[in-house]
């Protein structure tokens, strides 16, 4: 479960930018500055997503659908409803997970493994949109076209992530894709996004 933590910061970062408006300028710095400004103004995000996974150990792509909710500074709900029902909730230092096969709620502490240390650092950095920290871990490449695409490549090579590609549409982020070194990838498309709506506390507590 701890490995979930290593990707959640990335997700969080992406989710924080779902609200981003379409860009008309070609200046990367300006685009990033807009992202940061918007991130600061955002307290909550919620919506729906569709996820496609292409994994070498599966004969076909695995397509899942679900909902998400995020509240600053560090509460996340990530729920799959198809093809299996499963749920992850992060509430400060607590992590809950549940799935329909086991039917059991697993509780962990974010600090329970080394990944949590990274998570804490990242979480704070994303929430503040700490560009300095962000740039110390990834190479950023901003491509301008019909949509703004940000490509993040880890500064140090690792066996987990090769690159992350985030695409921003006219209204909000359209998708993010995580590419692994072996060729497997995960692509998440965001369908409906609501900004700064009041989110009930129960979303971030145990089901």
């Amino acid at each position: 479960m701890k490995f979930l933590m290593s990707i959640l910061p990335l997700l969080l970062f992406m989710l924080m930018h779902l609200f981003c408006p379409a860009r008309g300028t070609a200046e990367e710095a300006s685009a990033l500055e807009e992202i940061r400004r918007a991130a600061r103004a955002t307290q909550t995000l919620s919506g729906e997503f569709m996820q496609v996974k292409s994994l070498s150990i599966l004969d076909e792509q695995l397509v899942s659908k679900g909902t998400f909710a995020l509240q600053k500074p560090n509460m996340i709900r990530w729920e799959y409803v198809e093809p299996f029902h499963s749920l992850f909730v992060i509430n400060n230092d607590d992590l809950f997970s549940w799935n329909e096969i086991t039917g059991k709620v697993e509780r962990l502490k974010i600090s329970g493994n080394p990944a949590m240390k990274i998570f804490s650092e990242h979480l704070l950095s994303w929430a503040k949109f700490d560009m300095e920290y962000f740039e110390s871990h990834f190479n950023l490449l901003v491509r301008e076209g019909e949509n703004v695409v940000v490509v993040l490549k880890p500064l140090t090579s690792n066996t987990i992530v090769d690159k992350i590609v985030v695409e921003f549409g006219r209204e909000h982020i359209r998708s993010l894709a995580i590419f692994e070194p072996g060729g497997d990838f995960t692509r998440i498309e965001f369908r409906v996004v609501r900004l700064n709506q009041e989110l009930p506390d129960r979303l971030f507590t145990l089901p």
């Binding site: 479960m1 701890k2 490995f3 979930l4 933590m5 290593s6 990707i7 959640l8 997700l11 996820q51 996974k53 994994l55 070498s56 150990i57 599966l58 004969d59 076909e60 695995l62 899942s64 990530w78 799959y80 093809p83 299996f84 499963s86 992850f88 400060n92 230092d93 607590d94 799935n99 329909e100 096969i101 086991t102 502490k109 600090s111 329970g112 493994n113 080394p114 240390k117 804490s120 704070l124 987990i160 992530v161 995580i178 692994e180 497997d184 995960t186």
Partner: protein
């Protein structure tokens, strides 16, 4: 008596040959001083343990492997959950800053949940399975629904955002075989409600972190402990914000608290003792020649130390500490010579001869008592015996041969006149004396012995609160008992460790045990497991591979998805070795549990931790320890054995000393009544001490036992001097000499009662109480009884 035990000392002869006497004395002292500087002082506590019980010394050495001796615990806590990120950040920063030279570098530790860890233990499953595990596996693989459920669970995990790390785990273990090992990991979980990572425990409620570090500073090194404590406090101050409550605990804090306390005490004691000695000088001595009296104890110490250095390669610091008692006893000889001679020239030679006899009596009885110690099986007592006998012999010679010459010719001084008490006072004195004796005898059954070193250490209130706080939150890890499985090599040690674990599980199933055995069994236990696995896999392997491939296909898994699983169990693994566990991220815990130190003389010791409970003590009889090749060591049991040993030796020494003193006195006086009379001060002093200790509930310990020996030595001396005075009409100020001797002892040793430190205080209280009763018994009761018995010559 005087006729046949006359000591042939001629002051005239000494005076005539004073150059030769001085030269010889100075040469002897110079030689003694040189030899004293060659003394090698050791701090090995083993000299305090009897040779007849080598287990005690071994336990003392093994106890140093205890977490109590090595670990530094830092408990960080926040009241508000919102401060949790700050707590984690501060804990990590503090841990990072704790480096050499005060703290040992932590070993490589990848954590208990990394890939290396998972794959190592999954690969070694055949080395670890028990019959119950095989039955559980059989149920899993015989039920197609269970197989499908596990594969679906794998698919769900793959759909999650962390699939890239779950994927290899699912490929290697699609049926969750690893889950069989989870209970085994509990056997190394020191704190059940917490998880461990990078040298830190995180409490499951989320508001507490415990950092455990090892320090290279010995807790017996008071200066090093002080520096380490201050360094740690500085680190905390600079890295932990004030809203985080910090509790620091390690043996070093006790060492520092004790060292600081002794420093403070010494200032008070030295001041009080100096004022007391000065008052004595002004009130009773008032002559420059009296200053030479104080050369007597210095001579005793110098000569005693010289002979010690010739007799022993290493001398215990504790033995040398007893030098203070030696000085306290030997100063008496000089005082009696002073009071006999200081009144002037008239009859000085005669008075020296007279006073020499009780001085020699006193010295002989005290030397006799210390001679008994020479046959003790406690090394420190034998050293003490050599120090005391030679020191007292040196003091005796100095008092009788050199001091009279140093005192020269004096004038003045009042004659000693013994004045019997008035009849009314005599009656009340006797009643009071009898009451004291009765109270002492009544309290004898209530006396106890306490060998627990902790009881004699100063433990500040703040440290007690920290202990309670840490114990309440994290359990009492520091005071757990240890069982060492031993072996000439790792294989034998692990073999014994596995047998030990099996015995603990069978006989004490309810007791929490921290052991390596479930994760690193012996070679033979692994052999049994491999045979079990081989049978299971031969019977089921092919079918399992087929079932997961077919059912996996139904869920969309590729045909080769679980190839790593089949490969993992294709061949039986090699037997597990400690090096393999180190590679899997368990290096730090192995370093804690496996002892390969110089102290073990090449032996390998594998440690198991168990609660220090009476039922655990009872289980580990010497027979079981031999059978299993293990040694059970606990602070509680160690304290009990030390107490028992102390009691046994004290009773032995006390009985033998009493018998010898009575015998010597009888030989010297040839009179039963005089012998009994001479014993009055020592009996009164000891019984009064018993009465007071019983009444206030103080137990005998190492320190007040030493003080009791001082009371015995001085009490017998006072008895001899007073019996010689009242029974044989010695013409000198014996009472004054006894009084000054007693008061000087009270000033020197009794001042310790002002100490805050329990050990010093106990010693001071014992001397104060004992000598306070010994002096009136000698000065008042002996003359009264002598009068009633018709022994008084005046």
């Amino acid at each position: 008596v005087t006729a046949h035990l006359q000591i042939p000392i001629s002051l005239a002869f000494l005076s005539k040959n004073f150059r030769a006497v001085f030269t010889a004395a100075i040469a002897l002292l110079a030689l003694g001083l040189v030899l004293c500087f060659k003394l090698t002082i050791g701090e090995d506590i083993r000299v305090m343990f009897p040779d007849s019980n080598p287990g005690l010394a071994e336990d003392a050495s093994l106890l140093q492997q205890s977490p109590y001796f090595r670990q530094v615990m830092i408990h960080l806590q926040v009241d508000d959950k919102a401060d949790r990120p700050l707590l984690l950040e501060s804990a990590a920063a503090l841990k990072e800053a704790m480096r050499q030279p005060y703290f040992n570098e932590p070993g490589p530790d990848f954590g208990w949940s990394g890939h290396e860890f998972f794959h190592y233990f999954l690969h070694n499953l055949p080395n670890l399975v028990a019959p119950g595990d095989i039955a559980e596996l059989q149920r899993k693989v015989d039920d197609p629904a269970q197989i499908m459920g596990k594969l679906q669970e794998g698919l769900i995990q793959l759909s999650g955002p962390d699939s890239f790390v779950k994927k290899p785990l699912i490929q290697s273990d699609p049926l969750g075989f690893f889950g069989l090992l989870l209970l085994r990991f509990q056997a190394l979980k020191a704190i059940p409600d917490a998880h461990y990572e990078n040298g830190m425990f995180f409490h499951q409620e989320g508001q507490d972190v415990l950092i455990i570090a090892e320090s290279g500073v010995s807790i017996t090194d008071s200066a090093g402990s002080g520096r380490m404590v201050r360094h740690l406090q500085d680190l905390v101050a600079s890295r932990v914000p004030p809203q985080i409550e910090t509790s620091l605990l390690s043996g070093h804090f006790y060492t520092q608290a004790n060292a600081d306390s002794i420093k403070r005490d010494l200032a008070v004691i030295i001041t009080a003792a100096s004022l007391g000695i000065l008052a004595l000088f002004v009130l009773f001595l008032r002559h420059r020649s009296a200053l030479f009296v104080f050369l007597t104890p210095l001579t005793a110490l110098c000569l005693g130390g010289a002979v010690l250095s010739l007799s022993f390669d290493v001398v215990s610091g504790i033995t040398l500490g007893f030098g203070a008692v030696l000085m306290g006893i030997s100063v008496d000889y000089g005082l009696h010579v002073f009071f006999a001679l200081h009144r002037g020239d008239k009859d000085r030679g005669k008075r020296l001869v007279e006073v020499a006899r009780p001085i020699v009596f006193a010295a002989l009885t005290t030397i006799g008592v210390f001679l008994i110690m020479l046959f003790s099986d406690i090394p420190a007592q034998r050293q003490l015996s050599v120090l005391s006998m030679t020191g007292l012999a040196g003091a005796l010679l100095f008092s009788l041969l050199v001091l009279p010459l140093l005192m020269g010719r004096n004038n003045g001084g009042s004659a000693a006149v013994y004045r019997p008490s008035r009849p009314g006072r005599r009656k009340w004195s006797l009643i009071l004396w009898l009451a004291v004796l009765g109270a002492g005898i009544w309290q004898i059954p209530h006396l106890s012995f306490n060998g627990n070193p902790r009881e004699m250490a100063l433990i500040p209130e703040e440290l007690i609160r920290v202990e309670e706080r840490i114990s309440e939150r994290w359990g009492n890890l520091r005071s757990m008992a240890m069982i060492f499985a031993r072996g000439e090599d790792m294989g034998t040690a692990l073999e014994n460790n596995s047998r030990l674990f099996a015995v603990l599980q069978e006989r004490l199933p309810e007791v929490q045990v921290l052991s390596l055995a479930p994760l690193l069994p012996s070679a033979s236990a692994q052999g049994v497991s491999r045979e079990l696995w081989k049978e299971f896999w031969t019977k089921n392997g092919e079918r399992i591979r087929r079932d997961i491939t077919v059912q996996g296909k139904e869920l969309g898994f590729a045909e080769t998805a679980f190839a790593p699983f089949a490969d993992a169990f294709q061949r039986l693994p090699e037997p597990m070795e400690p090096e393999g566990l180190e590679g899997a991220g368990m290096g730090e815990i192995l370093n804690k549990m496996i002892v390969r130190s110089d102290q073990t003389q090449g032996e390998i010791l594998v440690m198991t931790l168990v609660p220090d409970l009476p039922r655990v003590h009872t289980l580990f009889t010497p027979e079981l320890e031999r059978e299993l090749g293990v040694r059970f060591v606990s602070q509680n049991r160690f304290s009990k054995e030390i107490s028992s040993s102390l009691k046994e030796h004290f009773v032995w020494f006390f009985s033998m000393a009493c018998a010898l003193v009575v015998l010597l006195l009888f030989v010297l006086y040839r009179s039963l009544s005089k012998t009994l009379l001479a014993l009055v001060p020592v009996v009164t002093g000891i019984l009064f001490l018993f009465a007071v200790m019983g009444a206030i509930g103080t137990a005998f310990n190492l320190y007040n036992m030493v003080a009791a020996i001082l009371i015995m030595g001085l009490g017998v001396d006072y008895g001899i001097f007073m019996v010689s005075k009242v029974g044989e009409g010695l013409d000198y100020e014996t009472e004054k000499a006894v009084l000054v001797s007693g008061f000087s002892t009270i000033a020197g040793f009794g001042a310790l009662v002002l100490a805050e430190h329990p050990a010093l205080h106990a010693m001071g209280l014992t001397v104060l109480v004992g000598i306070a009763a010994t002096i009136p018994a000698a000065i008042v009761i002996i003359p009264l009884l002598a009068g009633r018995l018709g022994l008084s010559e005046q």
